[in-house]
């Protein structure tokens, strides 16, 4: 029997349809935010946010509340606190983030051992359960995607200047502290919402890998952001199809497809470099 038969049957199920839409939206969202986060050297920050989210989920379970609803304010407060600490501390940011995320992970695992009535498993929390996303989850992710794209598109000039050089941005009247905080809050909310589908351990891959792949082959900022979000969405859908077709874990399959995309971009770099040097293939100076 070919692989297509069970896959086509699987696509008839509403949970699989929701998973594909969820993957597409989460992947695109991760790509859009990741394209800025990577250039602002926030990759490790998103990783720390993801790991600490487990503590937020555990708090929700211990308090008997919906973990997702607890996780959003937890992630925002946590992100703002960590950002404040990183700005003020004399320690290197990566060392500080390492302390924070490994401590939160340890605290969360110890706290989880006191939980008796949780229906899910630690495996689900760590690697996500995209097949379990509800229409409400999808609505939230779609709303966040619209907010993120709207905010970044309308403030495009300010965001790029801030990404390039903060003093230059400040001198051009960009509200640097406001935009920096808004972006971190947005990233925290996206991480919190996406955890259910993607899992604590793999969330940073959604933010980092498509953006890095896109960076390797892009010469223009708009192309870079759009390509990162397209890659994020497409890799998520392909990963889910592979997962369904071969009965493999969904989150890791998506990350492996992202890795394949990254390696393909890496292989394309010499070609892009050559094309970039051929007159007539490049865009005109001022277009």
């Amino acid at each position: 029997m070919s692989i297509e038969t069970p896959l086509l049957e699987l696509l008839q199920f509403p949970f699989m349809q929701r998973a594909l839409i969820g993957g597409l939206l989460t992947g695109a969202l991760g790509g859009v935010l990741g394209s800025f986060a990577v250039l602002r050297q926030l990759s490790f920050f998103s990783d720390a946010l993801g790991h600490s989210a487990l503590l937020g989920i555990t708090l929700g379970i211990l308090l008997g509340l919906n973990p997702t609803l607890v996780l959003i304010p937890f992630a925002v407060v946590f992100a703002l606190g960590v950002n404040h600490l990183v700005q003020r501390s004399q320690l290197p940011a990566d060392a500080l983030l390492n302390i924070i995320y490994s401590s939160s992970l340890a605290l969360a695992v110890v706290a989880l051992s006191f939980v008796r009535s949780y229906r899910g498993s630690i495996h689900q929390l760590l690697f996500g359960d995209i097949l379990g996303v509800s229409w409400l989850d999808l609505g939230l992710i779609a709303f966040l995607l619209v907010v993120a794209v709207g905010y970044l598109a309308l403030t495009r000039r300010d965001q790029i200047l801030l990404t390039l050089d903060e003093p230059l941005a400040l001198s051009r009247g960009v509200a640097v502290p406001v935009h920096r905080l808004l972006f971190i809050v947005l990233l925290a909310v996206v991480v919190a919402i996406s955890i259910k589908a993607v899992g604590v351990l793999l969330i940073s891959a959604f933010v980092v890998i498509p953006a890095c792949a896109s960076r390797l082959v892009s010469r223009h900022f708009n192309t870079y952001v759009v390509l990162a979000s397209v890659l994020g969405g497409v890799c998520a859908v392909l990963g889910l199809l592979v997962s369904g077709g071969f009965d493999l874990p969904s989150g890791p399959c998506v990350v492996i497809v992202q890795l394949v995309g990254f390696l393909a971009a890496l292989a394309l770099v010499p070609l892009c470099t050559v094309l970039g040097r051929v007159p007539g293939v490049r865009r005109s100076a001022t277009r």
């Binding site: 230059l168 009247g173 892009s218 870079y224 100076a285 001022t286």
Partner: protein, 256 residues
């Protein structure tokens, strides 16, 4: 046209609770070129950052084109647009996938909320004009991360030039440039100063260049130690006062 472009009175700026700039007062008249000199750690970059609204002053006042700057560096948008800045270094996060043409276009875009596809033809022609004037048209499709130090400075001038400005602030524009590139950069800067009517305030360690090109010199070592035309402000006695006893100015040797 406002004759006084910048007016600074009793300006004090702290950095981490330490007074970096103490009670500095001066003014810049339209279309003049003023150099800010002083030893490392004298507070030159701090002073410039306060003038640009990047660092809030602890005391004193700053007026740009007749408008008082707010306590957090606020200026009316129309005034802010008249001031341009060329930073000392511009390579920290320029792994950004951005071509020179796209970057210069960011200098044209007004601040605040804006649909990304607006601007169109006016933006394109302003970018092309700025690149032509800075002899950088051939760089338009290059990534900004691929530029040499001298090319980066020219592109930063194009970024400033893409809209009409009145005041140009440069923080050690010659940093990272060999003597020939520095010479070419200054030739371009002064050609543009004449054609655009810019008022220039620049931090410099190259006292030879300051002597040859500036109308006026401000000597800073936390407070303003002297000011005046180069012949007066850069005399041996004044330099000892600013840089300390035994100071020997370095002289560039340019190729004939």
């Amino acid at each position: 046209m406002v004759k006084m472009v910048l007016d600074v009175s009793g300006l004090t700026v702290r950095r981490d609770a330490v007074i970096a700039v103490d009670n500095v007062s001066f003014s810049l008249e339209s279309e003049t070129d003023t150099a800010l000199v002083g030893p490392n750690g004298a507070g030159k970059s701090t002073l410039v950052q306060a003038l640009l609204g990047i660092l809030p002053p602890s005391a004193g006042s700053i007026r740009v084109l007749g408008h008082a700057m707010g306590p957090q560096g606020q200026l009316p948008r129309s005034v802010r647009e008249q001031v341009a800045y060329v930073p000392q270094s511009f390579a920290v996060r320029n792994r950004c996938p951005l071509t020179v043409g796209d970057f210069v276009g960011l200098g044209w875009d007004p601040p605040g909320l804006r649909l990304p596809w607006t601007g169109g033809e006016r933006r394109r022609s302003a970018v092309a004009h700025a690149l032509r004037q800075t002899h950088a048209t051939n760089l338009a499709d290059r990534l900004i991360s691929d530029l040499s130090g001298g090319q980066t400075k020219r592109v930063l001038l194009a970024f400033c030039l893409v809209r009409p400005r009145r005041l140009l602030v440069l923080d050690e524009a010659q940093a990272g440039l060999d003597s020939q590139s520095a010479e070419q950069f200054y030739d371009l800067l002064f050609e543009l100063r004449r054609s655009e009517g810019w008022t220039i305030l620049q931090i410099s360690h190259d006292l030879d260049m300051v002597r040859r090109t500036s109308d006026r010199v401000l000597c800073l070592n936390r407070s303003l130690r002297c000011s005046g035309p180069p012949d007066h402000a850069l005399s041996a006695a004044q330099l000892e006062e600013v840089y300390g006893r035994g100071f020997v100015p370095y002289h560039h040797r340019h190729a004939p």
